[in-house]
């Protein structure tokens, strides 16, 4: 028999397929969801761009273009970790580096109470941003892609996580002023982020009058609408949106059955979590969002809670408050972690919530190492991030910047050569920590195994 090329290739492809079949299978989405059904996530963004020289990448010497924070430009009276240190020139004082016990790393005074739990945190410095525009930086930090023509080009990390493991939660992603986005194919419409201004509005939106119609009657209407939506979807060439509404009607029925309106009033949350500081100058408001996260996780209602803390964009004299804002922000994170430590896991017997909760704190970018004419700092294309997660290597500071200009330096070899770490890499690593293939959602970014626990 004459062997044509076609025949040969057919045989070869069959052999190749057999060879591939011998490899271990990639995790399916169902596997990921099952493996992570006990995990919870809190995503926080420090809106405006934070000064990393005050916490993660501390600089207290005049060097190169770097002017450290000092008593000339910073209000220090409320800073618990600020200890005066002399500056080379002038009458003002800079800060002593904060060297927590149990670590070889140093931080700036903005680290606040997180200095007491460095064994729980992972800090990533030298994140290469390539942008200094707010919308761009926020989107890049939370999705791993720059916006294109003003449009967000990818889903945010909370949507990605919820799509993998949050579909069955009552409130897969609750997003309070966080730049959550839902973009792309093959996303479940149940995980469209529930975007709100404040958590109190959940309670008010879910409350129902009882003087005209009863709950079973409204539920009957919702059930009928779900049917209507499914019928419309069947008639449509592109049924996605209408099918999504059908799922959302079903989710609504479950939400209303759960009586969330009593749980999620702002007053109720403050009462339920007095351990958080609702009176602090900058983070008193966001503390309610942290309380919501705690309560919602305790009741196994959410997968992700994302919220924002504003006020970091200190171009002028308002830079004086940057350090205190950071102190309060990290104080809030610290209080959240302590509260998670004290809360039993809703479904894993014997475990604490903190064993299964993962916090990621990001910002648009960082601030210039120079002080500007207005006694503030402007935008700068470098960044740091914070992770508090048992799946990450803790008591670790990864990534660096150069000593004179605070720019990211190459930190390892990636597939495209030696370079600094960037937000897509951090987000890809975050996904990989839970067995999620980043390529399902992200065009860019590589997993940095050094950040993860073995």
């Amino acid at each position: 028999m004459k062997t044509t090329r076609r025949t040969f290739l057919q045989v070869l492809s069959a052999a190749t397929a057999a060879a591939w079949a011998g490899l271990p299978p990639r995790a399916s989405m169902a596997d990921v969801a099952t493996a992570n059904e006990s995990e919870f996530f809190v995503f926080l963004i420090a809106l405006g761009g934070w000064d990393v020289t005050l916490w993660a990448d501390p600089r207290n010497e005049v060097r190169g273009i770097i002017h450290p924070a000092s008593t000339e430009n910073t209000d220090t009276s409320q800073l618990k970790r600020w200890v005066d240190a002399p500056m080379a020139e002038g009458p003002f004082k800079t800060f002593q580096l904060v060297r927590p016990r149990g670590t070889s790393y140093a931080f700036g005074p903005g680290i606040g109470n997180l200095a007491d739990m460095v064994d729980r945190i992972t800090v990533i410095n030298g994140l290469e941003m390539n942008t200094v525009a707010h919308p761009d930086g926020q989107v890049f930090s939370t999705t791993g892609r720059h916006p294109l023509g003003g449009r967000v080009a990818a889903s945010s990390i909370d949507t990605m996580i919820s799509n993998e493991m949050g579909r069955d939660q009552l409130l897969p992603t609750v997003s309070v002023r966080f730049p959550s986005s839902y973009v792309g194919e093959n996303l479940d419409r149940r995980v469209v982020p529930l975007s709100i201004d404040d958590v109190g509005s959940i309670s008010r939106t879910l409350s129902r009058a009882q003087l005209y119609d009863a709950t079973p009657e409204r539920d009957r209407v919702t059930a009928m609408l779900s049917e209507e939506a499914r019928d419309l979807a069947r008639r449509s060439t592109y049924p996605d949106v209408v099918e999504g509404m059908s799922l959302q009607y079903e989710a609504l029925r479950r939400m209303l059955k759960s009586n969330l309106q009593d749980t999620f009033s702002a007053g109720g949350l403050r009462k339920a979590h007095p351990e958080l500081d609702y009176k602090s100058r900058f983070t008193g408001g966001p503390a309610v969002n942290a309380a919501f996260a705690l309560e919602a996780m305790k009741r196994n209602l959410v997968r992700c809670v994302s919220f924002a803390i504003g006020g970091f964009d200190t171009h002028g004299n308002n830079y004086r408050g940057q350090a205190q804002l950071q102190q309060e922000t990290f104080g809030l994170v610290s209080d959240l972690v302590k509260s998670l430590d004290a809360t039993p896991h809703p479904t894993v017997r014997g475990a604490r919530l903190s064993d299964h909760t993962h916090v990621l704190v990001v910002s648009d970018f960082c601030r210039t190492p120079q002080i500007n004419l207005g006694m503030g700092r402007d935008h700068y294309p470098n960044n740091s991030a914070l992770v508090v997660s048992p799946r990450f290597r803790q008591n670790l500071v990864f990534g660096r910047t150069d000593p004179d200009q605070l720019l990211p330096v190459p930190v390892r070899r990636f597939s495209d050569g030696e370079r600094a770490i960037a937000p897509p890499d951090l987000l890809a690593t975050f996904l990989a920590a839970f067995g999620i293939d980043p390529r399902r959602y992200m065009r860019d970014g590589e997993v940095v195994r050094e950040l993860l626990r073995a």
């Binding site: 942008t131 449509s236 060439t237």
Partner: protein
């Protein structure tokens, strides 16, 4: 319930429709068979896009009549309020012209603090932060010293000390009673009587001072306010004051009046220009002239109801359907008052652009705008307090060529005329559409941010720096610096158009006093640029022979063209028209345009340009296009073929 066959149900519906029946008597007879579901859908989409709401039953009934002309209906909606709101919304989504919260109109802001009166009852006194006073005990501080009040009083800070009764003599010497503009309609008269709520007939219903400005702590109406004497000054011009304090006090010297900070030393300008006249509505006046105050009726200032800034007026937090349809009414802080009206001005401008179907290029090139009472107050006086600080060293004591000429402000608008809007046909030679409006300049506070907004929003281009490694470099020119040049080679020349508009303020730097390249500002022997020069000229682009105006290095020529030149240059670019077409088309189709839309976009751009850049012509062409009709996929015909 017995199940109904499809045919039976249809027959039932038709029969019911034909029979006399007590439904809405004004409904048209049932539709003729020629209206398909697609027709109804098209009408509904058109109503949503052009009316801004879904069609009513009556409108549907009219649509069903055989004499209904869809083209005529579309034309009737173009220019209507729904159409205008639609287009304004497209550009507001892109530009987001509403203020962030952190903005202060510092020289114009009045704080308020209680002291213990001679009888032990609180006395409320208004004052300005950093007001100059001739008494060393109070120069630059509150008009009563800590020795007199028992406390150190500073704006936005906690008091220090224990209050004690102020003597009547001290009170009379340091303060006066005034009938201010926010209480009196006729505040300019010698003895105002038309007080808000009494004697002031029919105040503008949208003008709502907060209760704490209208009533005292016991709830009694306030008829006069007590204010520090210097702040009550009504002169239009004052004089540069030199106290004679040129050397700092010794470290252990007792400070006069119990103050915590030493009294301000005379700056060189004060010593050199002592007695010189200054306009009282400028920043210079606050810095140098104790005989300058807030003007007649305190018109040059705005009140807050506390020492922390405080609240001043009610206005809505949310009004997505326009100012006539607020969703709430909230007490607002005084620092938000003018930024709120800047935003309203921008929206008014856009609304007029679309309602009058003006040449769309006027969004950047237009000289006209609209002002109401608060904006008139702002442009007439308050904006002048932005200037001058370091500019004075260059010979500019007050703004010489403001972006909005105060003389263009209608004279008959009072600060209370919140609902009265008047057109200003020509703001001045430097006016350039929204580019020179305070709202745009505050939202995009730096020259680069302004240039980037132009690029993104009017040319539909992005600065996307993918995978650019930034190595440390001492190269100040970002147009050539490795890693930066990808974007900055384009951005810096765009930013340069705004070099003459100071960042985070609206002060315009005229070419005559501030050349793009100055030979007066240059590096000294130690390689430094002097203080005032550093504020306005860039040390990174300076040498022994001169220095370049900040933000101008990318293109000094653009700096001299100013934003008005940017407007001309940008609107001449072909991308300007195609960007506008793409933005509006994308919005009406409800999706991003794709390469498949190239022919449609080309045709629409041609229509738009040939019409003279009129939006009506563009929108008319869009809503009549087949693509618009097909921009949803629910068809009355069943699915055909196999699944994709």
């Amino acid at each position: 319930m017995p199940s109904l066959s499809r045919a039976a149900l249809a027959a039932l519906l038709l029969a019911a429709a034909a029979a006399p029946f007590a439904v809405d008597a004004e409904s048209a007879p049932p539709p003729p068979a020629s209206r398909t579901l697609d027709d109804y859908r098209h009408f509904r989409i058109s109503a949503i896009d052009l009316l801004g709401r879904m069609p009513t039953r009556e409108e549907i009934a009219a649509f069903e009549r055989s004499d209904f002309d869809m083209d005529r209906w579309i034309d009737a909606q173009l220019g209507g309020p729904g159409y205008v709101e639609r287009l304004t919304r497209i550009y507001m989504d892109a530009l987001r012209l509403e203020p962030n919260v952190d903005f202060r109109t510092a020289p114009a802001e009045l704080y308020r603090h209680d002291v213990l009166g001679p009888d032990g009852k609180p006395v409320t006194i208004y004052y300005r932060e950093n007001q100059r006073r001739e008494r060393p005990e109070t120069d630059g501080e509150f008009c009563l010293s800590p020795d007199e009040t028992g406390v150190v009083i500073r704006a936005r800070q906690q008091d220090q000390g224990t209050p004690r009764k102020v003597t009547q003599k001290a009170l009379d010497q340091a303060t006066v009673l005034v009938k201010p503009w926010w209480l009196y309609r006729d505040f300019r008269t010698r003895n105002p009587v038309q007080r808000y709520g009494e004697g002031w007939k029919d105040p503008d219903p949208q003008y709502k001072p907060v209760e704490s400005l209208l009533d005292d702590a016991e709830g009694k109406p306030v008829t006069e306010v007590r204010i520090c004497r210097e702040e009550a000054g009504t002169r239009d011009t004052g004089h540069v004051y030199a106290s004679g304090r040129v050397k700092p006090l010794p470290k252990d010297a007792k400070l006069p009046g119990g103050r915590l900070r030493p009294p301000p030393l005379d700056r060189p300008y004060a010593t050199q220009h002592q007695g010189q006249e200054l306009a009282c509505d400028t920043k210079m006046a606050l810095d140098y002239a104790p005989d300058c105050g807030c003007g007649v009726g305190l018109e040059r200032c705005v009140p807050g109801d506390s020492n922390q800034g405080g609240n001043a007026f009610y206005y809505p937090n949310h009004m997505p359907l326009g100012p006539g349809m607020p969703l709430d009414d909230a007490r607002q802080q005084v620092q938000r008052w003018f930024p709120y009206w800047w935003s309203r001005e921008a929206v008014h401008f856009l609304d007029d652009l679309f309602a009058s179907d003006r040449d769309f290029r006027e969004i950047l090139t237009g000289k006209r705008t609209f002002v109401n009472g608060p904006l008139a107050q702002f442009y007439r006086t308050i904006q002048r307090s932005n200037c001058c600080g370091p500019e004075a060293s260059f010979g500019m004591l007050e703004e010489k060529e403001p972006l909005f000429d105060p003389h263009a402000v209608p004279a008959d608008l009072e600060p209370h005329d919140v609902s009265t809007w008047k057109v200003v046909e020509n703001r001045g030679p430097h006016a350039a559409g929204i580019l020179t409006m305070p709202m745009f300049l505050e939202k995009y506070a730096s020259a680069r941010a302004r240039g980037a907004a132009l690029y993104n929003d009017f040319l539909c281009k992005s600065f996307v720096a993918e995978s650019q490694q930034l190595a440390p470099s001492s190269e100040p020119n970002l147009m050539v610096r490795p890693g930066c040049k990808t974007c900055h080679a384009t951005l810096e020349p765009l930013a340069a158009y705004f070099a003459r508009v100071e960042p985070a303020s609206f002060v315009f730097l005229p070419q005559g006093d501030f050349p793009a390249h100055s030979t007066t500002c240059k590096l000294d022997r130690n390689g430094h640029l002097s203080g005032a020069c550093t504020a306005l000229y860039d040390p990174a682009f300076a040498d022994a022979s001169g220095a370049t105006l900040r933000s101008a290095y990318g293109s000094p020529a653009h700096a001299d063209e100013t934003p008005a030149g940017a407007a001309q240059d940008i609107t001449r670019m072909p991308e300007f028209a195609s960007c506008a077409v793409q933005r509006v088309t994308s919005s009406f189709l409800g999706r991003a345009t794709t390469p498949d839309d190239a022919r449609l976009l080309e045709a629409l751009t041609d229509t738009f340009v040939r019409s003279g850049f009129h939006m009506k012509a563009l929108v008319r062409a869009i809503v009549r296009s087949d693509e618009y009709r097909r921009s949803n996929n629910l068809s009355s015909s069943p699915r055909l073929g196999t699944s994709p």
